[in-house]
């Protein structure tokens, strides 16, 4: 193996190791951040508060029940992000072992693509449920249920499809790699 190749592999292993640790950290920190955010929502500085709350509520202070509902709703995409960090951790763990073109790699990338597509739909659901949750304490006639699609959700959808395509390309690379093992 050439020196530059060895250096490149070593760099991949090092970066993958750091990214795997970052993904693990996100996995454990994300629920804590979501819970803390909504638990201390009323004490947060103005700049950190949700735009939706400002838009739909005159009183910016959220009661406990609403905040609990917001945590539950926010955990829908939160759980998806956590799952995607699991897949990324698995993928980076394979890269650390210098496994680049195995069926496992392809499976992780495909799962990641699918989960990002799911994330875009779940984010739409989250927005809808969040608006309902924060306006639930409003008097009848002032509760809202709104569905909206923004550039964020569309971007997620596009990125998800690109990742799924990437998984298919990687699968072709895996087949070529397998064949390469039998070229003498």
């Amino acid at each position: 193996m050439e020196k530059s190749n060895i250096e490149n592999i070593s760099r991949i292993k090092k970066i993958s190791s750091r990214l795997r640790l970052a993904c693990s950290a996100i996995f454990y920190l994300l629920p804590l951040v979501i819970i803390s955010y909504w638990s201390f929502y009323n004490e947060l500085p103005e700049g950190f508060k949700s735009g939706l709350v400002k838009q739909y509520l005159k009183d910016p202070l959220l009661p406990v029940v609403t905040r609990i509902l917001c945590i539950a709703v926010d955990m829908i995409p939160g759980a998806i992000i956590m799952l995607s960090t699991r897949y990324l951790s698995g993928l980076f763990s394979l890269y650390e072992k210098t496994v680049f073109f195995s069926e496992e790699n392809v499976a992780y990338i495909r799962k990641l693509g699918n989960i990002v597509i799911l994330w875009s739909f779940m984010d739409i659901l989250k927005q809808t449920l969040l608006i309902l949750a924060i306006t639930l304490n409003n008097p009848p006639g002032q509760r809202f249920l709104a569905i909206g699609i923004g550039t964020f959700q569309l971007s997620l959808l596009l990125i998800g499809y690109i990742i799924v395509l990437f998984a298919r390309v990687m699968d072709e690379a895996r087949v070529m790699n397998d064949e390469q093992q039998f070229i003498v």
Partner: protein, 69 residues
């Protein structure tokens, strides 16, 4: 497989061991084993050239087309 690899026969004729040949041509014994057992999907011209040079034979002595499966 319709292409038969007669590397074993040539090695026996030249009284050479597999590991010696692998060393001469610069491939691993594992790769030479893949070639000998007919599991190889392709053989590089450079590998064939080295085998022919060290076994003093022609590519046709190593590779043989056969109608049999």
């Amino acid at each position: 497989m319709t292409i038969r690899i007669n590397l074993d026969v040539m090695l026996a004729k030249r009284k050479m061991k597999s590991n010696e040949l692998a060393k001469f041509i610069g491939i691993t014994e594992q790769n030479l084993s893949i070639l000998k057992t007919g599991k190889a999907k392709a053989i590089r011209i450079s590998t064939l050239e080295m085998i022919c040079r060290h076994l003093e034979c022609q590519p046709g002595d190593i590779l043989e087309y056969s109608e049999d499966e």
